[in-house]
């Protein structure tokens, strides 16, 4: 008889969950509310108003996933799927430099090549480990997500897939909204399967739209109500007074909470006001 295929008992799952890997966001406060960082084996949606830093965070994650294991990272590679053309390679270089500088600060003995002969701490090496796809229509977006299954089988060292943004083409070109919902739910299932099968993090950047609820227009993430159920985790980036904040709005195991962060020349870091305490929303 044996086990039912695909089923696991909860005790085994617990040890899986405990050994789960995270990718640091660059901000300690943000990592704290996320339970250490962006989780592998999960789909995380990150949304926010234009200019608040979604692409910056996406790029930061594509760099941070590559931090070598001996410095506390995953030592993996990244897939960056760009649907809007927001990927500016000079900025990626800057962020890579910032990451390296921080590593060297924390691990001053590592100026020589690391003992296991792994990745050299040069920005070019970090850039070489980001697989970049430029997507120009929703057809291509569907194609690349389908193709990922084969691609990731051939590139087993990828630990993060970032889609920036998942919204753009679906807002533009889809006339039949009911069909759009079905296509999107098919995609989100595929992405969850990829995350679990290949043990990597899937990060979906989403845009913002307005919705009429409770008597007024409010901001909400795009693509509709049914999509909002599809992701495991949801993080919303917003302005709170003079600072950028992130709110963990949905998570299977962590409470809703907000934390400040900053976008600096080096990339995403703790806000100046940070004292590393978690600020709760409720």
């Amino acid at each position: 008889m044996g086990e039912q295929s695909g089923a696991q008992n909860a005790w085994d799952m617990l040890s899986d969950e405990q050994s789960q890997k995270h990718t640091t966001t660059g901000s300690g406060d943000l990592n704290d509310i996320l339970g250490g960082g962006i989780h592998c084996k999960e789909v995380t949606e990150i949304g926010g108003v234009p200019g608040v830093g979604k692409t910056q965070l996406g790029i930061q994650l594509a760099i941070n996933v590559q931090i070598p294991v001996e410095y506390g990272g995953l030592g993996g590679k990244a897939v960056y799927i760009d649907t809007e053309g927001s990927f500016m390679v000079e900025r990626v270089y800057q962020i890579a430099e910032g990451c390296i500088r921080d590593i060297l600060e924390h691990f001053p003995q590592s100026h020589e090549k690391s003992s296991s002969g792994q990745k050299q701490l040069q920005p070019e090496h970090f850039l070489a480990d980001i697989y970049y796809f430029r997507i120009c229509s929703y057809t291509e977006q569907i194609a690349v997500i389908n193709y990922l299954e084969k691609f990731l089988g051939e590139h087993k060292d990828v630990r993060i897939v970032v889609i920036d943004s998942v919204t753009f083409h679906f807002r533009q070109d889809f006339e039949d909204l009911a069909l759009r919902t079905r296509v999107l739910s098919g995609l989100s299932l595929k992405l969850m399967k990829i995350a679990k099968t290949y043990n990597l993090a899937v990060v979906l950047l989403n845009q913002v739209t307005t919705k009429f609820t409770e008597g007024s227009f409010q901001l909400t993430l795009a693509l509709g109500d049914s999509w909002s159920h599809s992701c495991t985790n949801r993080v919303i980036l917003y302005w709170n007074g003079n600072e950028r904040y992130a709110c963990l709005d949905k998570s299977p195991s962590l409470p809703v909470a907000s934390a400040p962060y900053a976008v600096t020349g080096k990339g995403i870091r703790d806000a100046v006001s940070s004292n590393h305490k978690r600020a709760r929303v409720t």
Partner: protein
């Protein structure tokens, strides 16, 4: 890639025949269908449908590049990664100038200097390389009849006197700038489509749309029954793809409008907090950019022209390369000039709001 015909994909014959028989001729046809619907149309089992989707996806998926290859390609294509505006502080903040292949938006109240800025950019793109220009042609789409050749030449003469003294140069420069004046969105769309060819064949180095908002407001007044899709979205897609494809900078000007109650301001989880403050914030900045939030997401760089405290400022409100900073400026005979190259940091809500002192917006 979306319209890639199935016939060109070198699929195994039985799949190719099956798809052709059901009139699924392009990648888009096959991939727009959820799995279950594809199975129904093909009258085939799940493995067949999945195989078809996997093979079509692989064929239709664009090739990847590593970020390093992207960087090397950029370096190899030589300088010209940016169009320098000659406003030093601004160029530094933008990492060299207006980025190529991306959409840059210039937004602000009327009369503040957006067209003056565009005129200068047009000139700069036309100037020969040894004078710091791009030595190319410019397409200037003028929807509000604001383009003035006389003014542009005046800017040229005052900014680059030694160049413009040369005989025939003014004529040569002016000859490189092609001005079109569409009177409707349909006209505009048509010129854009013709533009694609022009851009590639005629060495166009800059595309300016002044202003985008005017076209859209024309359109909103008419019935849009003829359009399958919202016109702005289509235009947006098209502009972005032209920009990237031809690697030219595209500069679009946008207007402002007063804030209305339809503008969502907060997320639902924020609403409970500080109700009193919310009202105060709403009255603080009366203006928002026209064209909406979707447009705001789609532009890569947003330059806000605004006035407060008795001065005018160019504010870098959105840019992947720099934090939010502002520079005071004036408009004089040589065009826009910065009063200072020292940037002023802009924090918090100041980044997203647009100030306009000294103008009665309610009278608009």
């Amino acid at each position: 890639m979306a319209n890639m015909p199935v016939s060109e994909m070198r699929l195994p014959p039985h799949l190719a025949h099956l798809l052709a028989a059901r009139r699924l001729d392009t990648a888009k046809d096959v991939l727009s269908l959820p799995e279950v619907e594809l199975m129904a149309i093909l009258d085939a089992g799940l493995p067949t449908a999945r195989a078809a989707v996997a093979l079509v996806s692989e064929a239709a998926c664009p090739p990847y590049q590593t970020a390093l290859a992207l960087l090397e390609e950029r370096v190899r294509l030589g300088g010209g990664v940016r169009l320098a505006t000659t406003l030093c502080g601004l160029d530094e903040a933008l990492g060299g100038g207006i980025p190529m292949g991306k959409l840059t938006e210039v937004v602000g109240p009327s009369g503040i200097g957006k067209t003056q800025f565009c005129l200068k950019l047009a000139l700069l793109a036309a100037l020969p390389e040894y004078y710091g220009g791009l030595d190319g042609r410019v397409v200037y789409i003028d929807t509000e009849f604001k383009f003035s050749s006389r003014r542009m030449i005046e800017i040229g003469q005052k900014s680059f006197p030694q160049i413009f003294r040369q005989e025939g140069l003014a004529q040569k420069m002016a000859g490189r700038i092609l001005v079109t004046r569409p009177t409707s969105l349909a006209d505009f769309t048509k010129s854009l489509e013709e533009m694609k060819v022009t851009l590639l064949q005629h060495d166009v180095k800059l595309l300016i749309v002044d202003s985008m908002a005017a076209l859209m407001s024309l359109e909103n007044e008419k019935a849009t029954a003829g359009f399958r899709q919202h016109p702005l979205r289509w235009t947006l897609s098209f502009l972005k793809s032209i920009a990237e494809f031809s690697r030219v900078p595209v500069v679009v000007t946008n207007q402002v409008r007063s804030q209305s109650n339809d503008d969502g301001y907060h997320f639902s989880f924020e609403v409970d907090k500080k109700d009193g403050n919310k009202c105060a914030e709403r009255f603080d900045s009366h203006l928002v950019a026209a064209l909406g939030i979707q447009w705001a997401h789609a532009v890569t760089v947003r330059l806000v022209f605004e006035s407060h405290s008795g001065h005018r400022f160019i504010k870098v409100a959105k840019s992947p390369m720099s934090p939010a900073v502002a520079f005071p400026f004036i408009v004089e005979s040589s065009g826009i000039t910065l009063l200072s190259d020292e940037s002023i940091d802009v924090t918090g809500p100041g980044i997203t709001s647009i100030h306009c002192q000294g103008q009665n917006v309610l009278a608009r």
